[in-house]
Symmetry: C2
Subunit: 243 residues, 2 copies
């Protein structure tokens, strides 16, 4: 099984100022490649916290994707922290400097911007077609920007390099029903095939109880069979299926 | 310093199906109470993963808030996992059962719904004025629903019981500028007062580079002084301040 973790770095997420968007993007992209996103951690802009989380995650999962903290300002400390985790120095990457010089011109390429050309020694660059300042890869760790539009182009540039597993297929249906009425039948369906993961997600919309049921697995026939069983259950319970 | 962690439990967040909303809500609420949200973990619906994360977080932070996995279906395993982490059995809570019986009537209170009356031995209930099925507290761990509207009423019911710190004040300003031009001046301002945390958050909107600068601290005079220094920097650099 190919697994992954995401490490989100940023006080702005933890303070509630910003609602993270990168976990959802990466979760969906990884699932489509058959890579199981098994864990996410969100830590503050603090070197020790970043190093500790990174070391725990990179030892355990096939891939680690980080978001945030690679810009030019004082609170951007991810590069230093990744270098510390790998026990290597931070060095100026000539190719990254060339790209930044091309974007900004030598006049505007001040010390702060040049910081974005620094990587841990041994890193390879991740392209940034939006604003040039690259991300980088160290071993199984992919270091990307926090701004969602930039993280997305960075990920799109690397995703073909990732070893995927069997793509995770997902089917869902939404019923006008209450979870408590479905639960016994769902347990029976789940117990009948442990290779398909049945998820049950209630919402309350306009005073109406809805439940979205999701079947996920790598075998299309088994996923479809689980969905058929869910539809039969809905019919038995006289629960409307939403269009 | 009063600290907290959030543990989000749910495959639907990790698969990208659902975008988490609870971290932002809790982050903002905790900051307003002077509690530093220091870490978030998101784990799958897996007992071992929940227990491991919970044990790590509850040992390290003043409070831990969990979201998700306390409903009636087979994939709701948080209560069992919390009991396992604390080394206590799961028991039927008579008051929780009374509330569920009042809501559903004895006829509809089937085995699945009764599962929502189970808590780890020694837990105290967290009220749920939306749908009655309670959350619970074990020691420094607060176990809440994943549905945002329910998590929010649960948190509102417990927040007065939390020991807060000095409320974290936050001021922000958005400049039409690029981070690389501001970075040197921001470093100077940050170095001038370590009690105020200066955050710099770039966005690219309609082809325009904007930077939101946030000053956070517990001393209003120092936060205001940092913001004044940021405004002076903006003026020096001829950067427009957005209304």
């Amino acid at each position: 099984m190919v697994t992954a973790a995401v490490l989100v770095i940023g006080n702005e997420i933890l303070s509630g100022r910003t609602r993270d968007a990168n976990v959802q993007f990466l979760g969906a992209e990884l699932a489509a490649k058959g890579i199981v996103l098994a864990e996410v951690r969100i830590v503050r802009d603090d070197t020790a916290a970043i190093v500790e989380a990174l070391d725990a995650l990179r030892a355990r999962y096939t891939y680690v994707f980080t978001s945030g903290g690679i810009g030019p300002t004082h609170d951007d400390i991810t590069t230093q922290a990744v270098a510390a985790a790998f026990g290597v120095p931070v060095v100026r990457n000539a190719e990254a400097e060339r790209r930044l010089a091309e974007r900004y011109g030598r006049d505007l390429l001040n010390a702060a911007r040049l910081k974005m050309a620094d990587t841990p020694e041994g890193a390879t660059l991740i392209d940034n077609v939006v604003s040039q300042a690259p991300g980088f890869r160290m071993d199984n760790v992919f270091v990307m920007a926090g701004v969602p539009s930039i993280l997305q182009v960075m990920f799109n540039g690397i995703k073909d390099d990732l070893a995927g597993g069997a793509p995770l297929l997902s089917r869902s249906v939404t019923l006008a029903a209450r979870e408590g009425d479905l639960a016994e039948g769902l347990t029976r369906i789940q117990d009948g095939d442990s290779t398909v993961e049945i998820g049950s997600y209630p919402t309350f919309t306009g005073g109406r109880s809805l439940v979205t049921l999701v079947a996920r697995g790598t075998d299309a026939g088994r996923v479809d069979a689980a969905m058929a069983a869910i539809r039969t259950l809905a019919a038995e319970l006289d629960a409307d299926i939403l269009p």
